[in-house]
Each structure stands twice: as structure tokens, then as C-alpha cells.
């Protein structure tokens, strides 16, 4: 059984398994990652760090490419 990781996404506590990227975790909560410059909700497109659609705020730092970052215990993620 892989280790469980607890993190906060948009103010709510979520559990996920080790090795999950933040982008996948956000999608599992059914949230979008970011709001576009004209106000559209966006989620991940490429899954490989190229399209920048999965940007979110991780531990207070905005514009993080969440598809290339793993969830870590105690992390605070907010969609932007």
C-alpha cells in the first residue's frame, strides 16, 4: 500500500497516494486549475509541462506548473 499524503486544496483537506502530481490531485477534486485572462476556467491540457494550463498557487507561490510537481504532505494548493 503506497503511503498516503494529506494536503489542502482550496481550503479543504484531501488525501492522495504518494507519487500523485498536484495537477492530478486538483482534477480529482473536480476543480479547474486557473482562470484565463478573459475569465474562462481552465484545466490541464498536455500533462507534460508545456501548455501552462495547469498553473496554480502552491504554498503561496503562483503560476506553478502543477503537472510537474508531486503532492507533498502538508502542501497548500489554491487554484488561481
Amino acid at each position: 500500500m503506497p503511503e498516503r499524503i494529506a494536503l489542502t486544496i482550496n481550503g479543504r483537506q484531501w488525501e492522495t497516494s504518494e507519487g500523485t502530481t498536484i495537477a492530478a490531485a486538483i482534477m480529482n477534486t473536480e476543480a479547474a486549475c486557473r482562470t484565463s485572462v478573459t475569465g474562462e476556467e481552465r484545466g490541464p491540457l498536455c500533462g507534460m509541462g508545456i501548455c501552462f494550463e495547469c498553473r496554480a498557487i502552491v504554498n503561496g507561490v503562483p503560476h506553478q506548473r502543477t503537472c510537474q510537481m508531486l503532492c507533498q504532505d502538508g502542501m497548500d494548493v489554491t487554484t488561481q
Binding site: A25, M27, T38, E40, L45, C46, G49, C67, Q68
Partner: protein, 424 residues
């Protein structure tokens, strides 16, 4: 601090791994700089990797004394000739090289159609990558669409992970696909792979000459409308996994001034580009799959290490596998009708939200950038540049640093003075 290596390999997929392993076997200090968290690239990702991936990992491990691995780092500029600058965790690294091997892989081609910006409209390889990294698709309904052999592989993968794939739509016509299958009959490996995927998706309707014309939904994706010939119909589903085959990542090679021909990095028989001591292997030289990437990687690695005889022994295999690359290109060439999919309000540039109505009057990529900010967002045209090349026939201009968005503080900093040491 500048780190020095004889050979710097950019990219840790099959081509990069093979190149690094081969060069290191001759005692050359090698570094692999990769933007992912682990080696394997986009194709060998996660736990369920093929035997070939394990073999190459073991081969790299056996020469680990000579191979440094830098993960999660993206090369974005060259502050002085012979030195690469990469960003890692918000900091920059300077890496000096004698020889450079570019193994930057490929990305999916995305084409705009109404609704393609809705959340849960994802790349085909994109959705697979997300599932491999923890997205649950259990019980979800998915339509897989676009083009390329990846579609079957993705559909099979999603099914084994609990998704219900409702349709697989390949834009290429059936006659082309038949010719493709006929041509791989002599390649037992490829044929076995294709048959396995086909068997795994036996229950899923497969449509050739079929593509999505729109994705519907409010804030979130709810359904896709497909077209095949004169017939159009709508399927309700949770995800649309849609990618139109692959395009080579040539930005870094272009930045170094390497000659690009027909969208691919031009190389000589040693995999050397038009720039001395800069090699290129794998998908950037043409989409040919992991097997061709491994062969090219080995040739580049041996050639860069001065082992031309060893490199030469792979020429025959490379020639054979390049035929398959040619076949892929012919089979999955895009139907020109796909260029007609965007409507006036369809966003083409997703970073700056530039609609088709604004772009259709622009004469060139450069004009579009200047007048509309198309391609000026963080993806730097990697998504919309590929799309507008197909839709309008525009070609992207010169690649300038930073090749990836990076903190301003990393850009201007001067590398410390360096003295290249003889390591041979």
C-alpha cells in the same frame, strides 16, 4: 557555480538515456539534464514500463560513476558559448559542455475547435500522463480522438484503469490505416503491439476519417460532437482525450542555430546537426517512436564519444526504423478540413485568449504576435504556434531566450569565468 562535462545530454527520454549510457561507457563525464522528475521521458512514465525501459535504466546505472543526473531542470538560455543555463526550483544552474546532445522529444499537436478550452478536454497522451500521475478515471466516460498510433494505446490504457471508452476517432481515412497495417505486417514487434491494443479495445467503436467538431458544456466539458463524412453526432462524456499525433520539440535546436528542415532538426549520419559538436537524437529529428529514438541516441552517444565504429554498427537499424517514421508521417497526415474547425469566437491562443476572428486577418506569425499577443504567453507559442502553422500556414520566427519562462534574476546574471579543462 558552473559544472563542467564533456557531454551534456538535454532530455532524459529513450534517446537521451541511450546517448548518455553509450557515451559514458567510454568514460566520458556525462550529464543528463531533464525537465521531468524521473528519467524515461513521456513514454516511459510511471510504474508500468516495458522491458526495454528497465534494460536502459540498468545500463545507465552500470555507468553511474560517469553520469550525473539533473532532474526538474529546464534549459532556457546560453549565457556564453559552451555554457547552458537551466532553471531548477526557481534557481539557475550553469552547465559547461564540449559536446551537446539534444534529445528534447516531442509533444502532442493540439488543434482548436469550439469548446477545446473547456476543462476536461485534455490531450490523448495528456490524459494518459495525468492518469499515470494519479488522476482517477474509474467509471468515467471518455472519448479518445485525434490522430496517431497513440490513440489506441491511450484507449487501451484508460480501459485497464477503469474508464469506459465510448469511441476512438482517428482523423486519417480508413484506406490510409489499412496501408499502415499492411506495411507493419513484416515488423513483428509493431504488429504484436498494434494487435494487443486492438484486442484490448475490441468493444470500443473505432471510427476512421472522424474528428471532433465541437466540445460542449457550461463551465465544464459535458459532450463532444463528432463528424465522420456527412454524419455528425454528439456523445455525452466526462473527458475528451484529443491529440493530433506528435510534433518534434525543436525550440532548443533552433535556439542554437541548428538547421531545421520540414519541421525537423536536420542531422548528418552521426546525428550531428548543422552546428559542430551539437547532436540531436530521437523525436526532434522526426517522429519515429521509442525504438528509433534509442537507435539514434546510441549513434549520437557513441559519435560524441569519438567511437565512430560503434556508431556505424547501428546505421542499418536506423535506416529500417526511419522507414517506419516515414510511414507514420504519411498515414497520419492531417486532413485539411481540420483547419476549418475553429469558429470566429474559438480561442486559438490559450495563454492570451486570442480568438480566431482576430487572427484570421493577420498575414504572419510575427504580425499576429505583435498585434494580438498570440503566442506571447507563458507557453511561448508551443500550443498555438503549432496550430497556426497548420491553420494559416504560418511559420514561427526566430527562437530567443529565455526558451522557457524563468525568473528575471536568472536571465541577466553573468556566468562565472570558466576555464575548460582537458578531461580526456
Amino acid at each position: 557555480m558552473t559544472q563542467h562535462f564533456d557531454i551534456v545530454v538535454v532530455g532524459g527520454g529513450p534517446a537521451g538515456m541511450a546517448a548518455a549510457a553509450c557515451a559514458a561507457e567510454y568514460g566520458k563525464p556525462v550529464v543528463i539534464v531533464d525537465d521531468n522528475l524521473t528519467l524515461g521521458g513521456q513514454i516511459w512514465r510511471g510504474k508500468d514500463i516495458p522491458a526495454a525501459a528497465r534494460k536502459w535504466q540498468a545500463r545507465l546505472d552500470s555507468v553511474s560513476a560517469h553520469v550525473t543526473r539533473i532532474h526538474g531542470a529546464r534549459v532556457f538560455s546560453q549565457p556564453v558559448p559552451g555554457v547552458l543555463r537551466a532553471e531548477q526550483n526557481g534557481r539557475y544552474l550553469d552547465i559547461a559542455y564540449r559536446k551537446l546532445i539534444l534529445a528534447t522529444g516531442a509533444r502532442e499537436r493540439f488543434l482548436p475547435f469550439p469548446g477545446w478550452t473547456l476543462p476536461n478536454v485534455v490531450g490523448a497522451g495528456g490524459l494518459q500522463a495525468l492518469v499515470k500521475s494519479g488522476l482517477s478515471v474509474k467509471g468515467k466516460h471518455v472519448v479518445v480522438a485525434g490522430s496517431g498510433p497513440l490513440l489506441l494505446a491511450v484507449a487501451a490504457y484508460l480501459q485497464t484503469h477503469g474508464a469506459k471508452v465510448l469511441a476512438i476517432c482517428e482523423q486519417a481515412q480508413f484506406s490510409r490505416l489499412l496501408k499502415f497495417v499492411h506495411s507493419i505486417v513484416t515488423d513483428s514487434g509493431k504488429l504484436r503491439q498494434a494487435l494487443t491494443y486492438k484486442m484490448q479495445t475490441m468493444s470500443v467503436p473505432f471510427y476512421a476519417g472522424c474528428y471532433p467538431v465541437s466540445a460542449g458544456g457550461g463551465k465544464k466539458f459535458e459532450s463532444v460532437t463528432l463528424r465522420q463524412g456527412k454524419r455528425a453526432w454528439t456523445i455525452a462524456c466526462d473527458y475528451l482525450a484529443c491529440g493530433f499525433h506528435l510534433v518534434p520539440n525543436t525550440e532548443l535546436a533552433e535556439f542554437f542555430g541548428c538547421r531545421i528542415s520540414n519541421g525537423k532538426v536536420a542531422v548528418d549520419k552521426w546525428q550531428q546537426t548543422s552546428i559542430l559538436d551539437v547532436y540531436c537524437a530521437g523525436e526532434p529529428t522526426g517522429i519515429g517512436g521509442a525504438e528509433l529514438a534509442l537507435v539514434e541516441g546510441q549513434i549520437a552517444g557513441y559519435a560524441a564519444a569519438g567511437q565512430q565504429d560503434k556508431a556505424h554498427s547501428f546505421f542499418e537499424e536506423r535506416a529500417r526504423r526511419r522507414k517506419f517514421a516515414q510511414l507514420l508521417e504519411e498515414t497520419f497526415a492531417l486532413d485539411p478540413a481540420l483547419a476549418q474547425l475553429p469558429q470566429d469566437e474559438t480561442l486559438v491562443c490559450r495563454c492570451e485568449d486570442v480568438p480566431y476572428s482576430v487572427l484570421k486577418h493577420e498575414p504572419s506569425w510575427r504580425a499576429a504576435k505583435l498585434h494580438t499577443r498570440c503566442g506571447m504567453g507563458p507557453c511561448q507559442g508551443r500550443i498555438c504556434g503549432t496550430a497556426t502553422e497548420f491553420i494559416f500556414g504560418w511559420t514561427a520566427g526566430q527562437v530567443r531566450p529565455p526558451i522557457f519562462p524563468t525568473p528575471l534574476s536568472s536571465l541577466g546574471a553573468k556566468p562565472e569565468l570558466i576555464e575548460l579543462q582537458e578531461t580526456r
